[in-house]
Symmetry: C2
């Protein structure tokens, strides 16, 4: 369409700032930076699951595991300019999601136990396959930052740019160092948060000051043995088990859901396990009740077997009007209001359980 991306000509609030060349760039894979939520694989870049394992799950998971959803960098600096420079070999740009969410970064500041939004790094659609963006801060005192990485893009390199002469340290760690692991569909993956910091896991992470791992795989979360065995082997503080939406049917859920729960519980006798049915319960286009009933049955069975640390976020109770009230962008994926509601439902439980 004509006029695309040119609105900054008539509204300067749409203008994006670029670097003035007075910055030094640092690879986030080297100290003092700390990368959370991702592994680094030489030759390909970041991944959420080792490629050899992801490849055994499905082609979709193999591709999507390289999307940096849930990836974060923590550091501290007194620089009043912060830039990101990255190489993006693959990116999903979608009509119902902002490019800010799919391919951008968010910066939050941590101080005195509170997290504040600082700004977003938003690539223009034409920025391919590499871009550099800069944020100018209002002041320059030493502060802790967390940078949230793109939800639906892959990164083969990521550098942070700071003013020459500014300090750079690792900053504080999370209060809760063991991650909460989230497994699920495109919703868990982050579709359609307007920014990376607004998917429900990131909101919970800021609220509880906890690390997390986002194992949401758009269209690819089917509770396969390979992925559940991988998850069962992770060190974690808590597990959120939420793949209702991607299971091909209620029958498929029946064949896999309890089995996957059992695998994680057998490896982790003591961690809280939160299972969930889809937030989009009332959507007339899906069989929300049949699916919810399968998940409820796993929960009831776990309780009857004596599991004292299992919880259920029931779509029918928590999110009954989610669809009718327009909490989605497209009838399926939460908008930012939907994610805030989800973050509250999961976060209220997690807050009571986290140690």
């Amino acid at each position: 369409m004509s006029g695309e991306n040119e609105i900054s000509k008539i509204d300067k609030n749409f203008t994006h700032v670029t670097s003035d060349g007075e910055l030094l760039f640092y690879d986030v894979n080297k100290a003092p930076f700390r990368v959370y939520g991702l592994l680094w694989e030489d030759g390909t870049g970041f991944t959420r699951m080792p490629s050899d394992i992801a490849g055994k799950v499905s082609d979709g998971v193999f591709t999507l595991a390289k999307n940096t959803a849930g990836g974060r960098v923590r550091f501290s600096t007194d620089s009043s300019v912060i830039a990101v420079r990255c190489r993006i070999p693959q990116s999903w740009r979608m009509a119902h999601m902002t490019d800010a969410g799919s391919a951008g970064f968010d910066l939050y500041n941590y101080s005195e136990g509170k997290q504040r939004f600082v700004g977003a790094f938003i690539p223009q659609r034409a920025n391919t396959p590499e871009y550099e963006l800069t944020l100018k801060l209002a002041t320059s005192e030493m502060r802790d930052f967390v940078l949230d990485m793109p939800l639906f893009s892959s990164l083969s390199s990521l550098e942070i740019g700071l003013q020459k002469g500014s300090a750079l340290n690792c900053g504080s760690e999370y209060k809760h160092k063991k991650p909460i692991v989230f497994y699920g569909s495109s919703i868990t993956h982050g579709a359609c948060a307007s920014r990376p910091g607004l998917c429900y896991e990131a909101i919970i992470s800021r609220r509880l000051d906890t690390d997390f791992v986002n194992l949401g795989f758009s269209g690819g979360a089917k509770g396969e043995d390979t992925v559940m065995t991988y998850i069962a082997g992770l060190d974690m503080s808590m597990f959120v088990y939420d793949y209702d939406y991607n299971a091909p049917s209620a029958e498929h859920l029946m064949a896999t859901h309890y089995k996957g729960y059992r695998k994680v519980r057998d490896s982790h006798p003591d961690i809280p396990i939160i299972m969930a049915s889809s937030p989009n319960f009332s959507n007339p286009a899906r069989d929300g009740k049949a699916r919810r009933d399968v998940i409820a049955a796993t929960y009831e069975k776990a309780l009857s077997e004596g599991d004292k640390n299992v919880y259920f976020v029931d779509g029918e109770k928590e999110f009954a009007t989610f669809f009718d009230d327009g909490r989605t962008v497209d009838g399926t994926h939460p908008n930012d209001v939907g994610f805030e509601i989800m973050a509250k439902a999961f976060g209220d439980i997690a807050e009571k359980l986290i140690k």
Copy 2:
């Protein structure tokens, strides 16, 4: 970037439905449809302000007045398929906003005093300059609908497609037929709601069952005499006066804000006038306090002159942590959470005043 718009290959929830050819299409400018919030100009299409007046305000307002922000179509039908077919001569597709919001449509259903989200019509980026999209509904009883039009696109034609043999009527009117008129910046215009139905005016319209006119002009709302004279001449139930963000400076606001208020009040001695300062009060990149003080001064002066129907949505009080809490997509424009907060602040006042 590679992979753009292809995620539906691995996640069927991203697939878009197209028409099956069994539909009849109707021009929304003919009965029984009712178009709200827009004027029709032969030869060019919809506009929010007559082109000859918009052209006298500024080039930006001339262009943006043709964006269909706030445009709606109401009708009733028992068709279980509803399609839109439109021609879009101009569209702003932006990195911090979804294409669903900038170029898509939303469908809401009105029944028993309640409005429910039905679904979104979301064009792919490649849909230029004409597209047709279809929603399949779960049932086919006679129902009232409202279709919200794109926020940042212009439409030179719009047709609605229904199944052959289905009924088509005008449906119910708004309970409050006189519109609330909103004047302001890109935020009023709707940046960056994820869907047309989620800008703050549309949320208030559904809550109060009232018509409205969106006179938000991204980057172009400067309180010029021409635009304020035009607004003063409109028939309306209430006026929301909110152009803080686009005024070039606090001094410019000082020179124009009270003057514009006076113009509207002189034409409308009895309507409620709600003035507002920007929701983005605490953003360190702007002089929020100086601007707010000018608007507060207009409000105080109006009160001291005996105006008993003037109200102030004070950014410092209502939205003090809006920026820090990340209620924006980009540090400037509200995300869906931000718009919900704005809709509540303005809606709570409007609900008490609307007649």
